[in-house]
């Protein structure tokens, strides 16, 4: 897998740091099924991303972020919105 953006590299790094079971990660991996992240792990991952980018990833967005790619896209959009604000 060839990462294509800085955000992608960093978000993948953060996800990997919570991947305690060392499941192979791809852009289409789902957090709940493939990576078996429980709700506490998801909360820690979200907090790590928020701290890294100094932004807020609202809880109500999470149900729509099922895959690694979806999370990366969401972070990219939030970063962009922040710089335009």
């Amino acid at each position: 897998m060839q990462p294509t953006s800085a955000t992608e590299i960093l978000v993948l790094e953060l996800i990997t740091s919570f991947n305690k079971k060392s499941v192979p990660i791809s852009l289409s991996s789902t957090f709940a099924r493939d990576l078996a992240f429980d709700s506490l792990t998801v909360m820690d991952l979200v907090a790590a991303i928020e701290d890294e980018y100094d932004l807020i990833l609202p809880l109500n967005m999470l149900p729509d972020l099922e895959t690694v790619q979806q999370l990366i896209n969401a972070v990219e959009a939030l970063v962009k919105a922040k710089h335009h604000a």
Partner: protein, 405 residues
């Protein structure tokens, strides 16, 4: 045709496994209630140590009499919403009693505390606003967030520094509501309200505190942790329930906000459900008036809490709070199996307690939880401690096995 209930098979299987082992945690039936602290379960007299009946108000003769009179005079139910035919003189008297108890201008009564949280969270914040909640918030707060249209931000449990950091990331001009609880019911720990409220206000947020597990015995007037922490003037809304210290059922919000009354026209869980029956309203009113002056009950409650916390600690149990912070004492279990065995052994020994496990609990913990009642006698508390010591060894919660697990 797909069966929509298939997705719950895992839960049925888990329950079946417990039932096979002779334990049914959701199958306890109270055959007789002898007092706020004693019941007959499976034909056996049992001490109740898991009912949230903190002030033991369920059998006060004058409260029962008030309920009976209202039942006779006003009938069995209102058959209507508060906004239509469901507001009786009793409902107005109950709201007046709440305003008096909390010394606030406004009080609004809901049919349950669950609905009060649902209604307030979903109505106060809307699209473009932010609702900021503690990670360990009660289900009714999470559900209120899910029902509303605001963006939901979660901060680390009881952590003012994390709350401050998150509030600072939000647009300064956006509407914000921080939702807190005085006592968190899973571990029985209290919130550092003075700091959390200060941080919220400094960042331009309104504040709501749920005092479900604190009303009646925290603060000089029993108004909760908000009163004890000295931040009543800064807290915009206090939510509570009649299902614990008040000893009946219902929920409420009190506030000094000048525009508060408009919520009666906006809050769907207030409008689209029937109001509380007159008998319940009368017992709630009588109990709240009484709670203002039951100093002996408060003292006995705190005395029992301290004795039980000390006794369990001395027996070797791992308690969730180092000191007795509230009327809930939680024991951290080494495993789910030991939790189930201890719970069953306690019931066998004639003591009813609660068990709790993830996702209801924080940090994946399995807990045995006790809630103390003002009507527990010193003798009952000693009996409970003795039962815990014995059941602790039988179940493996105490001793060598606990250390290994």
């Amino acid at each position: 045709m797909p069966d929509l209930l298939d997705k719950f098979d895992y839960a049925s299987a888990e329950l079946a496994k417990l039932q096979f082992l002779g334990v049914n945690p959701v199958g306890v039936v109270m055959e007789k209630i002898l007092s706020p602290t004693r019941a007959i379960i499976s034909g056996k007299e049992t001490i109740l140590l898991g009912t949230y009946n903190y002030m033991g108000m369920t059998f006060e003769p004058d409260v029962i009499e008030a309920g009976q009179k209202a039942l006779t005079d006003f009938g069995t139910g209102t058959t209507g919403s508060r906004t239509l035919n469901g507001t009786y003189v009793g409902h107005k008297a109950l709201e007046a009693a709440l305003s008096d108890y909390y010394d606030t201008r406004h009080a609004m009564v809901f049919s349950t505390g669950y609905q009060a949280n649902l209604g307030m969270c979903a109505t106060l914040t809307g699209k473009g606003d932010y609702i900021i909640i503690d990670a360990d918030s009660h289900a009714s707060i999470y559900d209120g967030c899910a029902m509303g249209n605001a963006d939901v931000v979660r901060f680390r449990h009881n952590d003012p520094v994390d709350l401050d950091k998150r509030l600072k990331r939000l647009p300064p001009e956006a509407g914000k509501l921080v939702v807190l609880e005085g006592v968190y019911s899973m571990l029985g720990d209290i919130a550092p309200l003075a700091e959390l409220v200060r941080v919220s206000k400094a960042n331009g947020a309104m504040v709501m505190v749920d005092e479900a597990h604190a009303m009646g015995f925290f603060g000089e007037h029993g108004r909760g942790v908000t009163e004890q922490a000295g931040c009543e003037a800064e807290v915009d809304f206090v939510v509570g329930t009649f299902s614990k210290s008040v000893g009946t059922i219902g929920g409420y919000v009190v506030s000094n906000h000048p525009k508060f009354e408009v919520l009666r026209l906006m809050c769907r869980p207030y409008m689209f459900t029937a109001s509380l029956p007159p008998s319940v309203v009368a017992t709630a009113t009588a109990a709240i008036v009484k709670l203002k002056s039951v100093h002996a009950k408060r003292n006995q409650l705190w005395k029992s809490v301290k004795a039980l916390h000390g006794g369990l600690k001395a027996a070797g149990f791992n308690l969730a709070t180092k000191t007795p912070e509230s009327a809930i004492l939680a024991i951290i279990m080494p495993s789910q199996d030991i939790m189930v065995s201890l719970w069953a052994a306690m019931l066998e020994a004639g003591v009813y307690v609660n068990m709790a496990r993830p996702p209801a609990t924080p940090a994946g913990m399995c807990l045995i939880r006790c809630s103390v009642c003002a009507e527990h006698t010193d003798v009952q508390v000693q009996k409970v401690i003795a039962a815990f010591e014995q059941a602790g060894h039988v179940s493996g919660a105490l001793g060598d096995m606990a250390a290994v697990a």
